[in-house]
Amino acid sequence: MMAGKWRWLLVALLLAAAVAAPLGQKSYIVYVLTSWLVFAIAAMGLNLTLGYAGQISLAQASFMAIGAYVTALLTLAGWHWLIATPLALLACFVVGLLLGYPALRVKGHFLAFVTLAFNTLVFLVLRNEEWLTGGSYGLSGMPRPDLGLFTTMRPLPFYYFTLAVTVIAALAMWGIVRSPWGRAFRALRENPIRAESLGLDTRRITLLAFAIGSAYGGLAGALVTSLVQFIEPASFGVGHSLRILLMVVVGGAGSFFGPFLGSGVVILLPEVLRFTEGYYLIIYAVLVIVMLIYAPEGLIGIGARLKMKFFSRSQVRADMSQGASLK
């Protein structure tokens, strides 16, 4: 119970820090912080698909693209962001559902290549269908959400708008992973054959893992549309999918707070290291490699390891303990 209280206190402190962080900062810093929140949402989605449900996907950037382009096209046509975004999420959910079908037949590396090919396919469609997507020139001039009394035209209000969307998305994800669905996703990751034998429809839960994860990618894309107000296919290539994968792995796959930490490292660390000038990307790459070698379970895993080191307790494996006793 105490652990739960501490956890909520920590969340409240982090939230307060997220509210205070952009105050008094220049526009660029506010932009970087907003990017962190946007990518945290995309990573949250991939964390559900990969971290909780164990289905590898290298296509999260393509769902950001679908979300971004659907939102952009609709808002350019005069639709409000708040109406365009749910439609973009729906589109991503449906496409994610379809992408989940190969996962019913192929696993592991083969599934990774299927999703990689899908990301490339989306990229090519966006680049070649100029009549709709603007091709390599992309789309620009998308309006930011106007919420009446609260307008998001300036960087700081848009940051707070993004923060509010992130909190809502995180609460929804918390609800999912704590529900029996969350338990089913973890069961799919750990032992799909056993899960099926316990009545779990693993086909349905696999498709849902892809669809929900993709919808989160779409939400991140819808926010990118308003953040940058310019989108082009190169912003959603395979490299970006790998970057989101890195966020999930660095933060700790299958951990609720992992995506926030991971996206923080991937988005914010290069900025923090800029004082090293030309060396910052080298230092960043070395830090990531060292971390993955010594903490393959991610940053969250380091915390768990420290907890075990300082608060270790006796083993429960003894076969002759109460569980083995006879009447």
Partner: protein
Amino acid sequence: MTAPVLSVRNIEKRFGGIRAVRGVSFDVHKGEILGLIGPNGSGKSTLFNCILGQLVPNAGEVAVSGRDVSGMRPSDLNKLGVGRTFQQLSVFPRMSVFDNIILAGQEHRGTMSSRLFGAPDAGLTQDAERMIAFFRLTHLRDELAGSLSYGQQKLVDAAMAFMAGPSIVLLDEPAGGVNLTMLAHLKDRLVTYNAEHGTTFVVIEHNMEFVMSLCTRIIVLAEGAVIAEGTPDEIRSNQTVIDAYLGG
């Protein structure tokens, strides 16, 4: 007359040129504890997997309480009241014992939407606590299942198979790798559950002492076919079985 809980008719399974199961038929009635024995390669596990929908047989039919379930998916079969345990350890290692047990029952409660928007425990906490206590795992309730000993994980596996209140449970080598103390405990729990709930068991096992003391009837397989059937005493004194399996 009520239909058998499980009815297997002329099951045939081939892997290329090898006939792993050759026209096996048997019935299992309510409350029975049927043992299925035979040496390695006799087709026991293949037959099990055909019954449980993990393998598609080349011929034959399987019925549960009179309903044809041939080719049915394992999840649908489970919803019809068929539980199972696995030969290899088959818990969810990074989930607590409590979550393992809840998972085993949650798909039998409510709808997809109620499992998303309803209580995280699917209203199963009391049932799960009862099942954990029945297998005397209460002190391990919040431990990760993967951190338990082999025998304890076998108990969790069995508890999961019972959680949804099945009418029949198929146990695949429950005694394999389990120490004698734990084995006695497992047998005690199975016998008690059978007596209290009238649940039917089919047990594949190599441990003859375990099978003979647990089962009410035994079927012996060799090279994919049934070579003997009877009570433990009849099997003990069956010359074919003695010659082929018990080293008599």
